[in-house]
């Protein structure tokens, strides 16, 4: 139940995030000054917060989306499975976020 509404909420957030991705690509096409603005923002504490939030949002929507696709295929409809798979989405999203952000830290991209 909670994962269903979270799927919608994260979908809305990712839609807005996609606009930011377009903004970054447009800035890259516009030239070094605009791109420096993007990297400056991404490196600020606020930018890092947004990026970290985006990574978790993406991770949750990704895993929960797979759960929904499997359910569409008719799998996992027993209540016990339903609850277990929802928890896999939630806990897995934190694991994925930790993995991704670990890579960011290793590559020196975190504050």
């Amino acid at each position: 139940m909670v994962t269903s509404i979270l799927h919608r909420a994260t979908g809305v957030v990712l839609s807005v995030g996609s606009l930011l991705i377009v903004a970054a690509l447009v800035a890259l096409a516009a030239g070094p000054e605009a791109w420096a603005c993007v990297t400056g923002l991404a490196g600020s504490w606020f930018g890092q917060l947004v990026l970290f939030g985006w990574v978790w949002t993406f991770a949750f929507h990704l895993l929960n989306g797979v759960r929904h696709l499997l359910q569409d295929a008719g799998w996992g409809y027993a209540i016990a499975q339903f609850i277990r798979n929802s928890w896999i989405s939630v806990i897995g999203s934190f694991v994925l976020t930790a993995l991704a952000w670990g890579l960011v830290v290793i590559r020196g991209g975190a504050l």
Partner: protein
């Protein structure tokens, strides 16, 4: 409901509107784009992480590589397509005032199409070195 005569039978109200015949199209495309985005999304995160610390020239060179340019355009188109379909359902479910519903549906479509075009043009400009 208010648009229909409440003394008519449901059949009378439905007759003449015709069968849409594409009722599952939305459902199918939403899932097809979802499967594509599973791979394209993970690819994009990987590309973004690989570009950490890259200077302007290196970032341009990465986006300009045909492999990345094609996948980035695929990612942009599929993302906004999937986003529009998802936001459409959310608006259908929660926005019931007719004028607001139509306006927001149109606004979502316009923004999604414009953002897709802007993103694709940006990638093409970088890839073609304009």
């Amino acid at each position: 409901m208010s648009g229909f005569d409440r003394f008519r039978t449901p059949l009378k109200n439905a007759r003449g509107l015709g069968s849409a015949k594409d009722g599952v199209h939305h459902f199918v495309v939403q899932r097809a784009t979802a499967i594509a985005l599973f791979f394209l999304g993970l690819y994009f995160v990987g590309l973004a992480i690989s570009l950490i610390g890259a200077d302007y020239a290196a970032a341009c060179a990465a986006v300009a590589h045909p492999f990345n340019a094609v996948l980035l355009i695929a990612f942009l188109v599929t993302s906004f397509w999937h986003a529009q379909l998802g936001l459409q359902v959310i608006i259908e479910d929660y926005v019931h005032a007719p004028i607001l519903a139509v306006t927001s549906q149109l606004a979502v479509r316009f923004v999604c199409v414009l953002a897709t075009l802007a993103g694709v043009l940006a990638v093409l400009r970088i890839a073609l070195g304009a």
